[in-house]
Structure formats: C-alpha cells, structure tokens
Subunit: 220 residues, 2 copies
Amino acid sequence: MRMSELSAATGAPIATIKYYLREGLLAPGERTSPNQANYGDAHVRRIRLVRALLGPGGLDVATAKDVVAAIDSDLPINHVFGIAQRAASVRLTGLGGDDEALARVDELLAGLRIHPSNPGREAAAAVIAAFESTGQRHEPDWYRRSLEAALVVAEADLDMVERRQGRDAQAETVVVGTALGDALFAALRRAAQEHVSTLRYEPVAPVEPDHREHPDVRQH
Amino acid sequence: MRMSELSAATGAPIATIKYYLREGLLAPGERTSPNQANYGDAHVRRIRLVRALLGPGGLDVATAKDVVAAIDSDLPINHVFGIAQRAASVRLTGLGGDDEALARVDELLAGLRIHPSNPGREAAAAVIAAFESTGQRHEPDWYRRSLEAALVVAEADLDMVERRQGRDAQAETVVVGTALGDALFAALRRAAQEHVSTLRYEPVAPVEPDHREHPDVRQH
C-alpha cells in the first residue's frame, strides 16, 4: 500500500508516519519510484505499536527506539524482557533513593531471586524515600501487600507471554505488556479503590427513591 | 526560619522555593520586613510534598496545585480521594478508548460498586484499546488477574489511610499514597517479574564456583 493508505489503515497522520521513518522507529517501505514506496501489514502493526508505546506507554522517542530495536534483534527473549523493563522504568529511575531506603527495599525483597541491578530495586527505594520525606510514616504493611499483589501480576504477565508462539510474537507481547501493563494496573486500582471504599463506608447500597418498592434493584 | 534555612532544611534550591511561591504551591511566609519572611515546619513539609508530587508522582504543576488546594480545603476525605485519583489519572485519561473496549471493561468490573464516572473505567478502556490495536490478542485472563491484584492493593491503600488520625493527616496520605502508589507498584512489579521468571526458567539456584563445597550458600 502507499503512504496515504498506510495513514488511512492506522489512523496516523502522514506527518507522524514520516516522523517515525526519520527517527528510525519504522523501517522504510520498498521503494517503487524515487518518490514512492510500498508498505505492508508489518508497517501497519509497527505504527500501532509505536503509537501505543509513545501514548499510553509513556515512553520517549529514544526509549521507544531501543525497544523496537530489541524486538527486531535476535536477542533471546529474557534479554528483550530486560530491555523492556528498563525502558518502562526510565521515568522511575534517576530519582535518587538513599542508602536507608535501599536497605528497606532489600529487606522487603529478601527471599526473591533478583539481581541487585534489577531496575525495580532502585526505583522502589527512590519512591519510598520520596514517600517518607513528605512526613509519611514508614509503612511496611503497605509495601509488603503491594509486593504480594505485584507477584500475582508478574505470574499473569509471564503466563500471557507463554501463550504466544515463537520468539517474535513473545518479544512483542513482552514489550507491549510491559509498557502498557503499568497504565492498566493504575486504572484498575482507581476502580478498586472506589469499590473497596464504598463497601466499607456505604455497606448497604442506597435504594433510589423511584425504586423503593423494588429493594432488589441495584444502584448505578 | 528564613528562606535560606528553608532551602537548607529541604534541599530545595531557593529558585525552586520562589517558583513554588509564585505558582501558589506554597503559602507565603509571615512577612517580617519588606524583603524578608519567616517560614515554619509546615513549609518544610509542604515543599517535600510538592517535590514528591512533581517528581516520582509525575504530576504537572497545574494538577499538583489542585491537589494541594484539596488538602488545604475543608472538603470531606472522600472528595479529596476523588481529586487525588483524578490528578494521578491525568496521564491516563484523554487517550480515547472506544465503545467496544468500554464494554469489555464494564464486563470486567461487573459486580464492583463504582460510578460510571470513575476515572479508572475510561482509562482502562483506553489502555485495553491501545493494547489490542497493536495486534495483541484479547487477554481476559491478564485483565482479570490484574484487577484481583488491584483489589488487594486498594484494601492496603484504605487501611493505610485509616491508620491516620484526623482529616488533614488522612488527606495528605491519600494524596501522597495515590500519587506515589502507582510508581511503587510499577517498581515492585519489575522485581517480581525477574523473580517469577527466574523460578520458572532457572528453578535451581546455580552454585558459585567458589562455594561448590557449600551448596547451601545463596546466590546473589
């Protein structure tokens, strides 16, 4: 297909596609004349992937480039996982934890089989340092229950990757799942907080005045 | 204390403090002369809070202002929760889900007591739409297990707020916990993924060559 059709197929403006080509986020099409190139389904998929990484995934262009290069490489899948993890952690790292926070995180993570260079370790220390610097108390119960939930999600993440056939499909799922998984969890947490809060503080669903005769009508 | 002491106490440069004052993120000090003001412990705490919101919390200045105003207001605590939730969801909303994705999210959230205006509902639809647009399959198992983990974390979030005495302390914990909780979870998920992956693919810890005679030595 031509670039105008690629734009129609993906909903991405032509200027955006040209930008992706210039930045190396998208491979060039097959040239059919000095001013024209032919694009295929792989280009459609890649444009959707890049938009997801830069949009809800929250990656910057340089990081998205590293991630896309990892998919296209022949690196083994666990290396791709490492690159995707680091990419999705860019916003989290470099915040500067301190030794005390790092010691607390190591205590929290004791028993887990992780390498000290795991990007989550320093990021967790930085977040905990920021949290306690605001005058919040040390909250080991909150940290521990967050970790337990993270282990549940990590099992689901790996199960999803294992449902894919072949290294390339797995690499794409690793990248998209890692980049979008945090945003999905944050969204579901908002819903869960309202639900738990409603159950605690309004345990009985109020009945709408119009439906007083039908006490089984659920609140909306 | 004077502004130079406030800077020393918080580690925030004087230019940053002046910026917070100009933007209304920090209340003015008590004026002692035309060019001098006196600041107290409340200013120290507020500067730490604003830095946490703008740094690891990832809020922009306008959103941080809304959140700080909510703490200082006399709004009831569940309203503050709503404002903090919306603030921490700014990055997530406006991504544009679609009706199909919204229907799937409603199916996923069926049985939860949430209002249709919950910011997580549309954000989850937008993330799921982006995820599936990249050619990833519909993943109900991944969505459902993410929600189950989110419910565990939401209970921990509310328990933490309830451990606080008084409306103002609760409001601060709601704001800081909501803004930093997502970053903490994302960090712990990185660690959990490596742990689960190691358990699955390297179930027996390799023994360091130097410690071959001590098979109980743990790997680092």
